[in-house]
């Protein structure tokens, strides 16, 4: 098994505080929100899993004997693939999940004009996004949101796009735009909230 300290990139003599900080940074980096719809989502998920396991492992080793009793409550959000089973485009979703974009697009393109629902636009957007055609994805997601404004799945994809359009990872102001934030700061808010929630979970997780 790999050394959990190596996974987190800290020395075994690091303080609890340092470990928590390293963990948070990695968790932020590999957060599923960053990779929603991306062809690399599974790679990021795997990395996230390794980081979580390493962090748990270190905590287990360090907490041994201290005896905290709270149980683990790792909150994995399944919102990205949850509501597909009843949809008319079930097979398309499966294809997208398996990264078989051509097959997915074939089905979508053969859908008659009249059946092109909000979900159809959303899935077309997902296909375009996987291919890296972000502009096309953007317009499909926008249409999907306009057709069905209350659907959280479409909204999440739309917000994800706008989050990327600001690219403020490095804290570098890439233009000082108001346009990019036109949809409200909701994406950032959600992100921050999730990171916070994640950290809260971690506090309890220590004893598992």
């Amino acid at each position: 098994m790999t050394n959990p300290y190596e996974v987190l990139g800290v020395s075994p003599s690091a303080s609890d505080e340092e470990i928590k900080k390293a963990y948070r940074e990695l968790a932020k980096k590999y957060h599923p929100d960053n990779y929603a719809g991306s062809p690399l989502a599974d790679v990021a998920e795997q990395k996230m899993k390794e980081v979580n396991e390493a962090y748990d492992e270190i905590n287990r080793m360090r907490q041994k004997g201290k005896g905290t009793g709270s149980s683990s409550s790792s909150q994995t959000s399944g919102s990205y693939s949850s509501n597909g089973s009843t949809s008319q485009f079930y097979s398309v979703r499966i294809y997208i999940q398996r990264n078989m974009i051509q097959e997915a697009e074939q089905i979508l393109d053969s859908t008659p004009e009249g059946n092109r629902t909000a979900e159809w636009h959303y899935l077309k957007g997902m296909c375009a996004f996987r291919k890296g055609w972000s502009e096309q994805a953007n317009s499909y997601f926008t249409t999907a949101c306009n057709m069905d404004p209350n659907n959280p799945e479409y909204r999440a994809a739309f917000n994800n796009m706008h989050g990327q359009q600001t690219y403020n990872y490095g804290g570098y102001n890439t233009g000082g735009s108001t346009y990019n934030n036109a949809s409200g700061c909701s994406c950032c808010d959600i992100c921050t909230a999730m990171i916070c929630a994640d950290c809260m979970c971690d506090c309890c997780r220590a004893g598992c």
């Binding site: 980096k29 375009a128 055609w133 490095g170 570098y172 890439t174």
Partner: protein, 288 residues
Amino acid sequence: MVFGYLQVQKSELLVREFDAYKAVYCGLCKQIGKDYSFLTRLSLSYDATFYTMILMSLEKSCTGFKGGRCKFNPLKKCKFAKCKSDSYSKAAAFSVITAYYKLIDDKKDSGFFKRLLTGIIKPFFGHWRKKAKKLYPELDEAVAKMMDAQFEVEQDSSSGIDAAAHPTAEMLGTVLSFEGSDDTQKRVLYEFGYHIGRWVYLMDAADDLEKDKKHNCFNPFLNVETDDLAQYQTSVLNQSLARAYDAYNLLELIDFKGILDNMMLYGFPSKQNTVVYRLQEEEDDKSV
């Protein structure tokens, strides 16, 4: 790829990082001179330097630095980054190949004197490119495919942003994915290269917009209907960088990490601002 957008933000680099960056740049220059000719060194670019650093970082092949003198300016002392794999010669081949294809491309749409000049140097580059092709046939194939696809896309003046950027993006994605050690890493490298390539193409398109408008050349931004073009360009470019950065994080590079981080987070965005804002200034000038 001879665009020069893939630069560092010097003010944000540590001094030792800047030295290392220069050492790779000089090392590549030396290699191009050695493998091809003194003249070919002119095809050296920041983009190829970026490519070299990614290769060296992936293979962990940089073994240190050694001193020497610059061939162009013998009075100047400089350092060269040592490398135990073929990263340099691969990057040198890549520079020469892209320079050659760019030359052909330029010849199609430029004025008389430039055509004459490219006509004179083209046979030389043709010879060097043949040599590079022999060493790395897969690089030449990827770039040749890009040129064909690009030509096709530009025949249709209504081509959108995504379609127009696809050939360059795919080329860089493919070229980088060669370096992956397993399927997962190949996929990550493809995604990283795809979005860097897309960004470079769109930067070039944004940069050339005025010129292309004047000469009635193809430019994907000419088809865009928006009130605020600079803002639109910023959001499109940002998105490519964001997706490239997400892929970059999954690579977990260690060598040159400081420099590469600097490029991803400061160098590219600041270059992007320069290009996009200059456009905006020109637009403002006209309205006055």
